[in-house]
Amino acid sequence: MNDVVLKVRDLNKSFDGVPAIQDISFDLFRAETLGIVGESGSGKTTLARCILRAIEPDSGHVEFLSDDGKVDLLKLRHKAMLPLRREMQMVFQDPYASLNPRMTVREIIEEPLVIHGVKSKAKRLERIREILDLVQLDHDSLYRFPHAFSGGQRQRIGIARALILRPKMVVCDETVSALDVSVQAQIINLLEDLQRELHLTYMFVAHDLAVVRHICDRVLVMHRGKVVESGTIDQVFDHPQQNYTKLLLSAIPSPDPDVRLNPLDRRTLGL
């Protein structure tokens, strides 16, 4: 098996005494895409944020395989996290809210380089041009503001910002949910191409199960803050073991009009 990039053990987080995630444990392997699915409120985003320490978890271990070896992220002080942040990045859901409207595309993509100490202006510009090519944005875009771009283009800007530091792991939190299907297809293809070229490891938080089935290798199913089932995509989608997974899968409306929607009932399943 490949290297374990991320090893999460017994991760917990409560908000005001209400548990948001409970005893989450899993491994994330290099260059794989791990899907995290579940209904709203199941703890998907909280889990992603706890791992990146965008919010502080209450307890547990998050072991990350950094370029300098294994580290337990939760034991680090904030200052010590900073160099590691280069290796783990995030792409957000809303391409309108996640870009500062008063910064140009160049400033947006350049900021991570400035923070992480790439001092030479020329070098930064060179990196920015490289990344624009990679995400298939025109170089003319550099001095324009986010409002001049469509949703799909903005998402490319968000991806460029995440990838400019050449991270190892990228957390995609509902990255394609807000996009039209054709644009969604372009961004999914782009994420897959980038993964192949750059050996990226993705944690892919999504509620759209068809998208998850398409791009993920393995999946964690979350329900009320717990992982109720995990496995390869085919295992989980074709042979779900847990009632909650069965409920979720039965609720997907098939695009084939001959396959009738026949959702299971939450109560008869005892959920």
Partner: protein, 322 residues
């Protein structure tokens, strides 16, 4: 001759903005058959919601209906053109919520946060019928029960924030149906909901439609939802209709390259190990932006394509044009 509850012809809408005029609808033509579910599907900006707003006469400045007609009950003696109604005509008020009502995407925005659920549902009754408040409240309770809200006697006195998203959408549906409208317009009613709740709401809408036998115009961008809920599909793109047919025709055997592209882009249809096609991959250099008239094919569906692209299909030879 099919029995249509709405016939939309050559509908044009423009929005005047600082940067110029946007033609949101550019000659939209389709029918809403009685007692059936018709889905409008398209990407954002295709004009789905603008079409719905025209039917409810909700287009406001800087928007303006520039052309066309929307005939309500075209075969009845009391037929009228919704577009031609003067503003503030009493018929417009009867239309909104009485003859046609609407379910919106975001149930929290559609409901008032400061009124009890029961008051909001019974308000719809009081607006349209001459009944006492107590009677309206009674009917509201009945309708809430009908849309699957349990423990109505307690819940009817609660406020929307005390309801979950799915329950709120049930309240919106109850409000929309309480005056027994002939047409129910659902504008992305399940888009904001979890997939499990979406399945419940779709099942509910389908059940109510069978029971009440009303006509539904269902707007969505989700092909899975279209496949499950609708009898007919209208495919829109850039303010025009590109293809109309039965759900089976359009989804199983799309004829218009844009529809083919739209379907090829869906992760649920493409095999997982294959790259997704984008619409432009499929459409290629076929012209889909020029407003070609809708041509009826021999299987009854209608497509908007240039003459040379139509050659490979068999075309219905009648004088009926649409």
């Amino acid at each position: 001759m099919t029995d249509n509850v709405l016939e939309i012809r050559d509908l044009g809408v423009e929005f005047k903005t600082d940067t110029g005029t946007t033609n949101a609808l550019r000659g939209v033509n389709f029918d809403v058959p009685r007692g059936k579910v018709t889905a409008i599907v398209g990407e954002s900006g295709s004009g789905k919601s603008v079409t719905a707003n025209c039917i409810m006469r909700l287009i406001q400045r800087p928007g303006r209906i520039t052309s066309g007609s929307i005939l309500f009950n075209p075969t009845s003696t009391e037929s009228f053109d919704i577009v031609a109604l003067p503003d503030k005509d009493s018929l417009i008020y009867e239309l909104r919520g009485g003859l046609i009502s609407m379910v919106f995407q975001e149930p929290m925005t559609a409901l008032s946060p400061v009124h009890k659920v029961g008051d909001q549902v019974s308000e719809a009754i009081l607006c349209h019928r001459n009944v006492s408040k107590a009677e309206a409240w009674e009917e509201a309770a009945e309708m809430l029960n009908h849309v699957g809200i349990e423990d109505v006697s307690r819940r009817i006195n609660m406020y929307p924030f005390e309801f979950s998203g799915g329950m709120r959408q049930r309240v919106v549906i109850a409000t929309a149906l309480v005056c027994h409208p002939e047409v129910l317009i659902c504008d992305e009613p399940t888009t904001a909901l979890d997939v499990t709740i979406q399945a419940e709401i779709l099942t509910l809408i389908k059940r109510l439609q069978t029971e009440l036998n009303n006509s539904i115009l269902f707007i969505t961008h989700d092909i899975g939802v279209v496949a499950q809920i609708s009898d007919y599909v209208v495919v829109m793109y850039q303010g025009r209709v590109l293809e109309i047919g039965s759900t089976h025709q359009v989804l199983k055997d799309p004829k218009h390259p844009y529809t083919q592209g739209l379907l090829a882009a869906i992760p649920g249809i493409a095999p997982p190990d294959q790259r997704l096609s984008t619409i432009s991959d499929v459409v290629g250099d076929i012209d889909i932006t020029t407003a070609y008239p809708l041509t009826t094919l021999s299987d009854g569906r209608k497509v908007s394509l240039p003459q040379e692209a139509l050659r490979k299909f068999s075309i219905r030879r009648t004088s009926e044009t649409l």
